[in-house]
C-alpha cells in the first residue's frame, strides 16, 4: 500500500509539471503585468505558451488585433523570472513583416536592448498582428509570456 501511495504521488506530481510547463502563464502574472502600466486602461492580454523543440522551430503565438486611428496604445511584455531576457513582443502588419521590418518591438536587434513596453500611435484603423516568441537562439525550455495591450489616450 505504501508503495502504491508513493507511485500515485509521483504520478500526480509528474502530471502537474507536464501540464503547467506546457501552459499559458498563471493569472497572477497576467494581473501583475496588467496593473504595472500606470495611467493606461487595460484592453486585453496575450497569454502565450512558449516551446522550442529544435533550434529552427518557430516558437510562441501570433494574435490578431484591430487598432483604431487616433489612439495611443501601449504594448507591455512580462515573463516569469528567468525568461524576461529571452522573449520578444512584436507588432506588425502585412506591409511591415514580423521578421524584416515590424512596426514595433520590445527587442532592438541593432543594440541588443530590451524594453518592457513601447507605445504605438495608430494612424490607420486596421487589423494588426502581435507575436510573442523566444528570441532567435534562445528558449531551450518550455515557458510562457504575457503581452498586455492598454489604452494610453487619444492622439492626433
Amino acid at each position: 500500500m505504501r508503495r502504491l501511495f508513493i507511485i500515485l504521488v509521483f504520478a500526480i506530481l509528474c502530471f502537474g509539471q507536464a501540464t503547467t510547463a506546457d501552459a499559458q502563464c498563471k493569472q497572477q502574472l497576467v494581473y501583475q503585468c496588467a496593473t504595472q502600466t500606470e495611467k493606461a486602461i487595460f484592453l486585453r492580454d496575450f497569454n502565450t505558451k512558449l516551446k522550442r523543440e529544435s533550434p529552427s522551430d518557430e516558437t510562441g503565438m501570433k494574435f490578431t488585433v484591430v487598432l483604431n486611428k487616433g489612439t495611443q496604445y501601449r504594448f507591455s511584455l512580462c515573463a516569469p523570472d528567468g525568461y524576461q531576457e529571452q522573449v520578444v513582443l512584436t507588432l506588425y502588419d502585412s506591409a511591415h513583416p514580423e521578421n524584416s521590418n515590424p512596426l514595433g518591438t520590445t527587442f532592438n536587434k541593432a543594440d541588443k536592448t530590451d524594453a518592457k513596453s513601447f507605445d504605438f500611435i495608430c494612424q490607420k484603423t486596421a487589423m494588426y498582428y502581435v507575436s510573442i516568441r523566444f528570441k532567435p537562439g534562445m528558449g531551450d525550455k518550455k515557458g510562457c509570456a504575457v503581452g498586455i495591450l492598454s489604452f494610453v489616450g487619444k492622439s492626433k
Binding site: Q24, L43, T64, I121, F151, K154, K156
Partner: protein, 301 residues
C-alpha cells in the same frame, strides 16, 4: 487508515488537475452543449481564419476609454436597462445581449460608476451561466471589487479578462456562432455609444472614429453571413442596412514608414501610414440615426 489516504489522494489529484488547468485558455471545462436548431455554420469556411478575425475585434472597454479621454461627461441615458435581457430565451439573444451588457459594463468601469455596476454584473452572470461560460465570470469577486471605489482598476481588468476568456472559450469549443454574436453585440453597442456622444457633442475626432468603423463592419459582416438560421438572417439584414449608410464614407490612405522616438523615457512608435476619412455632416447624421434604429431593433429582436 488506508481508506483515508485514498480519499486524500483523490482530492489532491482533483485539485492538481484543476490547478494545472487554471490558465489553459479555452481548452478547459469542455462541456456538452446543444445550440438551437438553425445556428449551424457554413461548411465551406476556414474556421481558423474566421476565429482570427473575430478575436481581433476591439475590447468592450476601448470605445468608452476613447469617449472618457475626450472629457465627455458620463450619461446613463446611453445605457441599456440590464433587466431587458431577462426576457431573452435563446442562445442567439443571450450571446448578443452579453455583448451589449459587456460594452455597457466597460463604459461604467471607465467612468468608475461602481454603484450602477452591480445590476449589470447580476445579468451578465445569469446570461453567462445560461451560455455555459459562467465559469469565467467570478461574480462574487467582481461584486466585491465593485463595492469599493479603490478597486476600480482591478474591477476593470478582471471584468475585461472575463469577457476575453468567455469569448476565447466559445471560439475554442466550436461555438464561434456565439462568439461572433458576442463581438457583434459589443461592436454595435460601442458604435451606439460613440454616435450618441457625437450627436450631443460633435467633434472631428468622433466623426473620424465613427467613419473608421466602416473598416470593422466590412470585416464583421462576411463573418455573420457564414452562419445560417432565421435569427442570423435578420441580423445580417440589419447589418446590411448599417452598411448601406457606411458606404457613403470614403477612406483614403497615405503610405509612410513608422518612426521610433524616445519620449519622456518611453519608447514611442509613430505610425506614418495614415487613413483619411471623408464624410459630410449629413452622412454622419444618417449613420447616427441608423445605428440607433438598428441597435434598438437588435435589443428587441
Amino acid at each position: 487508515m488506508h481508506k483515508k489516504w485514498y480519499i486524500s489522494l483523490i482530492v489532491a489529484a482533483t485539485a492538481m488537475m484543476q490547478f494545472s488547468c487554471g490558465g489553459c485558455g479555452g481548452d478547459d471545462g469542455h462541456l456538452e452543449y446543444h445550440e438551437e436548431e438553425g445556428m449551424v455554420t457554413d461548411v465551406n469556411f476556414d474556421s481558423q481564419a474566421m476565429n482570427e478575425i473575430i478575436s481581433s475585434f476591439s475590447s468592450p472597454v476601448e470605445m468608452a476609454a476613447m469617449i472618457q479621454s475626450s472629457e465627455v461627461p458620463f450619461s446613463p441615458k446611453y445605457l441599456i436597462n440590464p433587466d431587458v435581457v431577462k426576457d431573452y430565451t435563446t442562445s442567439f439573444k443571450k450571446a448578443l445581449g452579453l455583448g451589449f451588457l459587456s460594452a455597457d459594463l466597460g463604459y461604467l468601469n471607465v467612468y468608475s460608476k461602481t454603484s450602477l455596476i452591480i445590476d449589470y454584473l447580476v445579468q451578465i452572470r445569469s446570461i453567462s451561466e445560461d451560455l455555459k461560460v459562467g465559469q469565467f465570470f467570478d461574480f462574487q469577486l467582481l461584486k466585491r471589487l465593485a463595492t469599493s471605489d479603490d478597486n476600480i482598476d482591478s474591477l476593470l481588468i478582471m471584468s475585461t479578462q472575463s469577457y476575453q476568456k468567455m469569448d476565447e472559450h466559445l471560439r475554442n469549443n466550436q461555438r464561434s456562432n456565439l462568439s461572433a454574436l458576442l463581438v457583434t453585440g459589443v461592436w454595435v453597442e460601442s458604435l451606439y455609444l460613440i454616435t450618441q456622444v457625437a450627436k450631443d457633442q460633435y467633434s472631428e475626432d468622433f466623426k473620424d472614429r465613427i467613419g473608421e468603423q466602416k473598416t470593422i463592419l466590412n470585416q464583421l459582416l462576411p463573418i455573420l453571413k457564414m452562419f445560417h438560421g432565421k435569427d442570423f438572417e435578420h441580423l445580417v439584414q440589419y447589418m446590411e442596412e448599417l452598411k448601406d449608410v457606411f458606404d457613403f464614407v470614403k477612406i483614403s490612405y497615405e503610405v509612410g514608414e513608422p518612426e521610433t522616438k524616445t519620449i519622456n523615457g518611453s519608447l514611442v512608435v509613430i505610425q506614418n501610414d495614415r487613413s483619411i476619412i471623408t464624410m459630410s455632416k449629413e452622412e454622419l447624421q444618417e449613420i447616427i440615426t441608423t445605428t440607433e434604429k438598428i441597435r434598438n431593433k437588435l435589443i428587441a429582436l
